[in-house]
Subunit: 305 residues, 2 copies
Amino acid sequence: MLDSKPSVLIIGLGLIGASLGKALRHAGTAFVYGSDQQSNVPEVALTFGVIDEVVENLANLKEVDVIVMAVPVKAIASVLTNINHLLPTVKVLTDVGSVKGAVVKQVEEVLGELPAYFVPGHPIAGAEKSGVGAANVELFDKHLHILTPLPQSSPAAVDLLTQLWSSVGADVVTMDVERHDEVLAATSHLPHLLAFSLVDTLARESDNREIFRYAAGGFRDFTRIAASDPTMWHDVFLTNQDATLKILRKFQSDLAMLEHAIETSDGELLKTVFHRSKSARDYFTQVLEQREKGVSFSAITDYTP
Amino acid sequence: MLDSKPSVLIIGLGLIGASLGKALRHAGTAFVYGSDQQSNVPEVALTFGVIDEVVENLANLKEVDVIVMAVPVKAIASVLTNINHLLPTVKVLTDVGSVKGAVVKQVEEVLGELPAYFVPGHPIAGAEKSGVGAANVELFDKHLHILTPLPQSSPAAVDLLTQLWSSVGADVVTMDVERHDEVLAATSHLPHLLAFSLVDTLARESDNREIFRYAAGGFRDFTRIAASDPTMWHDVFLTNQDATLKILRKFQSDLAMLEHAIETSDGELLKTVFHRSKSARDYFTQVLEQREKGVSFSAITDYTP
């Protein structure tokens, strides 16, 4: 697939960055340099087989083919200022952020333009654990990787990036930046907001010492995402405001309808909504089962409610 | 523990009823009669080792020590009319419904009083699968079973019921009916409503064919409970209206506060809520881990936010 083994610099060796490094090395498809804000992390990463070479000071690195900024969305601008000297010879600059519009904006502001080698990306993968110690060589296997190429992005850059992510098992799809931020607002950002909000509502009840002790498995599943990193999610909501608010308001309006149905004992409406929802949820389960079997994204059957 | 092996009639051999029958037989602590609205189910239950004896027609059963009504909340009244002849000699009448106030109301209406042998109950256990085929001998092991004895309930009835549920591994706790319905509204009914509502909101988006294809594991966990039985949940919301509406409105008001924080870029408020929520969620994880290790309910450390 790849003509020669490209060099990849991963900046930020958290769960995503470290897993990508480990997976690329495992696949034998890249030589991996690793850098992190915390000075001891790259050495740990080297020990864990996550990277081939530690980059202590980015200024000392002369040239690299691909740069992956695996940092929180709001940290992109400061990362860019540290890699300016590498950009003239780079083939691909990408990221892994949950919001794409805000990343594009920072690149344009710092670099003064959107270069042809810049291709934003977002792996739809995660885990409960975080940090370099949680690096998982299979994290991206059979998972979607969404690329959001810009009009300026060169086909060669998109192609090289697609090959790299495919080499670690990811199912690479493309969509435009705005659509990505809407889809993720609905399927990820809103659910996280609801989970954080519900757990906080219950925790602040005067009888909080008791209430969680009665909760069961369903509550555990429902609130698992409320254990995610607060800082990362703070960044997501502040950088994807419009799309999050749009779907949040739609949700609030639909929830108010259910509130009214409970209030007025409108059993028919409740049944209709619950059946429609169960059917959609069952469809989603099938989608995930197909994906776990390795069925590619484009081959998955569409859903008509 | 039990002086002699009591006879237990389980009416309704779905997941909960069938699992209880199987677990009691496995523990050797009861002789189990089984009855179900669907005439073929008790025979299947007998084959699966869920019951000792099929009761085709309740009218033909002469006497039994304990009756467990394992049916949806709204079906309690009609079950009661079929077991009237057994009540003069019964030691315990109980149920397993997710709402307790509505069950008590039906018993009082049908029987004209709240008898001393009546002790409502609710096992905090469940599974994704349903029906007699999903019977699981370990379903209640290390799980809470909430009894809500009434002022009229006799200590002997509470004691016998506690022994039976303890014999299948359950951690039996008691609370009053109103408190049960409030706690469950917060930790179970509201999360189910939110999951059903969110999945429905997304399914009705014009681009529903696409949106679920991009969702990941976090969304799967968050929406798992939206695959639950629509009819059962319809019953729950219509029989626990007041408590559900009360906590729902508190949630809506807290969510509106987060909406406003996103709108006004109030990062401090978002961080405060997310951190508080993560901390409460992490505490809840510890509670569940302790319970899974067999730490009893009363020994679990309390939570102070």
